[in-house]
Symmetry: C2
Subunit: 268 residues, 2 copies
């Protein structure tokens, strides 16, 4: 079993409840990588007997640190219409809620389509780039093959302020694994805090709320398979402990798979 | 009392419960303007006795249409830490949930700050622009003084596809009202569906999920007062019934007050 699938493995318990546990393979500096928590909460909804359609929107709030060990995920279908489902999800340890999330699922049909945002220009293929280092980085980084075109963290935090916080990189699971909605969700949280990239400085920082809009249908996911996807992120503003960022995840063929936004706490 | 304040007026009921009613002044084509529903749900949290800090992130899901008439808003403090609060909010009519939302509030301190995103270039002041028409538009549009630099809806839907869906406009409450967090939230939903702007074509469309990141502190809101703010929006992609957009709201002095994203259902 792939370490990603092990990390998001859930056991159905009481009605609308699933139990799981953190995985040391996706450890962050403290507790688990936020992306794997997000993936597990999405997985809980997808595993629910009442699920219909595919994910359209997912917002996760990182309310408090998840401790290494078991957790419980509760899912509630708040409202269903003919074509959509609205879910509320919470992840708890003991009596304490660590994460909340909302998910929108829908039955989607072909319509007129267009993409106004452009695929990043001048991007060399992943084969021509070296894999980013994993030493001196949190464990979860070992679970991704990341190949940066721009905006990796510096080898040493030299404190030299950069003009912006743009990062562009190819990324896929390591070892290779076919892309699924939960793994795409986790990749949406694989961007290092923009404030590290912008300031070349380390400080306490962590995602507080993240939203993902899924544009890929199951065929688009299957088409990516276990190949790299292209991730691009930039920051908007950093003000009074919080910085926000926007990002996209593209297939190598230029299909926009997901857009994602988050607001990140930082100190100093 | 200003029509906005009347529209979001809530009465405290049972524990963690508030009641309100839709306002004909903020009517949309069917039911109320989504921005006023969003404002009322944020207002409910801000009115709660346990509230601490100022809003950082707010995500609202439009699960089903709100009918004209009374509604009930329930708020639940899911988790509190030393500096943050995570709330879950739902708006119901009868036994049916119409909207869900999550809110993050925080006590914020001054830190290093920067804004990577640029204020739109070449923007004339609001005094030199005409107010956008309100005739043939939903009632809520009358409650805003909008002055477009780019990307208003065409006078007639001619079906001529545009190269993108960028809109830039000055906006403020009509009649004038000092900016508050709820009114800023409503402005974040004042963008017409991007698909109308892109295609110059009308079709069934509506916001499904919207996220707002608040960057303005109370001083920044007070500094805006009842002056126009500058709103800019663009679309990322339109695929299989859903289109996503990203937008910013700036003060005239170039301070980024809020960034906001949404995914919008469209048919055809």
């Amino acid at each position: 079993m792939h370490p990603f699938d092990l990390a998001i493995q859930l056991e159905a318990g009481a009605t609308d409840t699933f139990t799981g546990a953190t995985s040391s393979q996706y450890a962050n500096m403290v507790g688990p990588f936020g992306g794997i928590t997000c993936a597990a909460m999405l997985q809980a909804v997808m595993q629910h007997a009442a699920i219909k359609g595919t994910p359209v929107a997912f917002t996760i709030n990182y309310a408090a640190p998840v401790q290494d060990g078991p957790y419980e995920i509760k899912v509630a279908l708040m409202r269903e219409t003919r074509t959509t489902q609205h879910w509320f999800i919470s992840l708890s340890q003991g009596d304490e809620v660590c994460n909340t999330a909302t998910a929108v699922f829908a039955a989607r049909r072909e319509t007129w389509q267009a993409t106004d945002r452009a695929f990043p220009a001048g991007v060399p293929g992943p084969a021509s780039l070296e894999r980013a280092p994993t030493a001196m980085r949190p464990t979860w980084v070992q679970r991704y093959d990341m190949r940066f075109i721009q905006g990796d963290l510096p080898a040493a935090f030299d404190g030299v302020e950069q003009p912006d916080a743009r990062s562009v990189y190819w990324v896929k699971d390591e070892p290779a694994r076919a892309l699924t909605y939960p793994s795409l969700a986790a990749i949406c949280d694989s961007f290092f805090p923009r404030v590290f990239v912008r300031r070349h400085q380390f400080m306490p920082a962590g995602t507080v709320s993240m939203t993902i809009y899924f544009h890929a249908d199951p065929d688009a996911l299957a088409h990516v398979g276990d190949n790299h996807v292209l991730a691009e992120a930039r920051a908007n503003t950093y003000q009074a402990n919080f910085a926000d960022q926007s990002a996209e995840v593209w297939s190598a063929q230029g299909q926009l798979l997901a857009t994602t936004h988050q607001i990140v706490y930082f100190k100093s």
